[in-house]
């Protein structure tokens, strides 16, 4: 019965080597002022890096931005996604093809998504501002350069890309529901809202939980779209925590400090992810 361990060995080796080992490595560096550019000069600083993070305005701003970004994007995606799922569950000609086409935004290369939207929203040559002007007579704003607009735009691009995911996952959930409760509701003369509220929603509970958690975990991880779209600007208006870590580590080369930030990020994600993991535990127990 040694074979079963042999079968697991390659996968576990890679995973341990790329997840557990690096984190212990970075736990060690997070307690020093190590800089990758001056590898020979470093000293032990205890928890100074963690303390610094709690008082670093740029870090706190990026943390707040991330919370704002994740919260608003995922909430919008959920409500829009639910509406789209209901809309797309109707019988209409070509609906199957339409559902497949809805997969495309979420599969578009993230870097391309960022660049594509920069092009659409370009102040001088962008198609969005042109039609805003000719059709609505509005002077289109500088979407990505405006301090108060940049974050909403970044959120909306995420909504554009990921609402289809919510919609298709919820749709899959809707279609897997048994028919009898709906027939019973019909016989009892329930209105469509009552049916949705008291029959559909309760049965969709676990799917809803899963899509919220997965989208939240993924939105926390966002990097590439925001990087290409605004690179954190203007100022620090769209600087997410992941972008901050990158900048501290590879622009200022403060490796020790960046390691401490990585740990803080890991702990935040684990708080969200543990909910998801607990859910999967329950599911696998069934």
């Amino acid at each position: 019965m040694k074979t079963k361990y042999a079968l697991l060995a390659p996968a576990l080796t890679v995973l341990v080597f790329m997840t557990v080992v690096p984190f212990f490595f970075s736990l060690a560096t997070s307690l020093t002022d190590y800089k990758a550019t001056e590898p020979d000069r470093w000293r032990f600083v205890g928890f100074a890096n963690f303390y610094r993070a709690l008082t670093d305005r740029d870090v706190l701003t990026s943390l707040w931005n991330t919370v704002l970004y994740v919260g608003s994007a995922v909430t919008l995606e959920f409500f829009l996604g639910m509406a789209v799922a209901l809309l797309f569950s109707r019988n209409m000609r070509g609906i199957r093809t339409i559902r497949i086409l809805l997969l495309l935004p979420m599969m578009t290369t993230p870097v391309a998504v960022g660049l594509m939207w920069r092009w659409l929203l370009n102040t001088d040559f962008g198609i969005v501002n042109y039609y805003l002007n000719t059709w609505l007579g509005m002077n289109g704003p500088n979407w990505l350069g405006d301090e108060s607009l940049a974050m909403p735009v970044v959120v909306l691009v995420d909504v554009w890309q990921w609402t289809p995911f919510m919609a298709l996952a919820l749709l899959a959930g809707l279609q897997s529901l048994p028919e009898e409760p709906f027939e019973a509701a019909k016989i009892d003369g329930a209105s469509s809202w009552q049916t949705f509220r008291h029959v559909t929603l309760p049965q969709l509970r676990s799917v809803i939980l899963v899509v919220w958690l997965i989208r939240m975990i993924d939105a926390f991880k966002s990097f590439d779209v925001v990087w290409t779209l605004t690179n954190g600007g203007p100022g620090l208006r769209t600087e997410l925590f992941s972008l901050r870590i990158y900048r501290v580590a590879f622009k200022y080369w403060e490796t020790g400090y960046a390691s401490a930030l990585s740990w803080i990020f890991l702990i935040i994600i684990l708080l969200v992810a543990s909910q998801f993991i607990r859910f999967l535990y329950r599911e696998t127990a069934k």
């Binding site: 390659p10 690096p22 001088d124 040559f125 899959a172 997965i214 990020f265 993991i277």
Partner: protein, 283 residues
């Protein structure tokens, strides 16, 4: 009376909902369509206002991506890097993933469930948090700017997904099938390869394609772990903006080339996309 007034109302509502459905589709697809259209325009046409909708397509942007006199003429080389890194890491994660998934689905393990859930949880690790330590490790091993520096982390990130996904497929195949083949004199290995593997072939293909897409799209690690030789396509696409001013024609051409294979694949594995993205918890 109720019926006669309700019917036209109903059909008006239906028409409205149909239109809404198409509107959502248009909003979802328009940015992609506009990117592709811009990529086949001359740079003059691309920046023309009002926007030009009907024009003679040109491939000049694509040609200049691949011709060496252009500043970004290395694009072909980078695409090759992307293909190499994505396919090797996919092959590794599917192979290692299938072995582990088979073990987890067929043999009892002490705390096997903990193990499976731990494997899954590695998927949730924020890449930005592993970026710094992985960089330091690769630096210490002197692997920066090699294919290995990208292949190893990509394999790891896809592995948890591959294990979890394939475990689901293995569990759907009844063990009796393999056992009866073994009674008939097959070894376990040949039973697996003759009976089980062909049955989960679609699942293997779907898993591989989704892994391929993730590695192909990955940007952050490529940005940090490659310098010159191992740079993948997404990294340079970004440089159309930061280094050469903005060359919209070439930029959209590069974006189209990066996205096209992924979108084709996505349609191919559409049945498994949502299942894959939710780690099998929504089927």
């Amino acid at each position: 009376m109720g019926k006669t007034t309700r019917k036209p109302l109903r059909s008006i509502l239906n028409i409205f909902l149909d239109i809404l459905t198409y509107a959502i589709l248009i909003v979802s697809l328009f940015p992609i369509v506009w990117m592709v259209l811009t990529s086949v325009k001359t740079s003059w046409d691309a920046q023309a206002l009002p926007p030009i909708w009907i024009f003679v397509p040109t491939i000049e942007n694509y040609v200049s991506l691949f011709s060496s006199r252009s500043t970004s003429g290395r694009f072909g080389e980078l695409l090759v890097n992307s293909v190499l890194v994505a396919s090797v890491s996919t092959a590794l994660s599917v192979l290692f993933g299938a072995l582990a998934a088979y073990a987890l689905s067929r043999f009892p393990f002490k705390r096997g469930k903990d193990l499976a859930v731990w494997i899954l949880s590695t998927r949730m690790f924020p890449p930005a948090a592993t970026l710094v330590p992985v960089f330091m490790m690769m630096n210490a091993l002197d692997l920066i700017d090699t294919y290995a520096a990208l292949i190893i982390p990509y394999t790891a990130f896809n592995l948890s997904f591959a294990v979890w996904m394939l475990k689901g497929f293995f569990e759907e195949i009844p063990t009796d099938l393999e056992e009866s083949a073994m009674v008939d004199g097959c070894s376990r290995l040949s039973a697996v390869f003759r009976i089980t593997m062909p049955l989960i072939a679609p699942g293997l293909a779907a898993t591989a394609i989704i892994c391929l897409m993730f590695s192909w799209n990955e940007f952050m690690f490529a940005l940090v772990l490659s310098r010159n030789d191992a740079v993948t396509a997404p990294v340079i696409a970004n440089q159309f903006v930061t280094m050469y001013g903005v060359q919209w024609g070439e930029l959209t051409a590069a974006s189209t080339l990066m996205t096209a294979p992924v979108l084709l694949f996505a349609i191919f594995v559409r049945k498994y996309m949502i299942q894959g993205l939710t780690m099998g918890s929504v089927k």
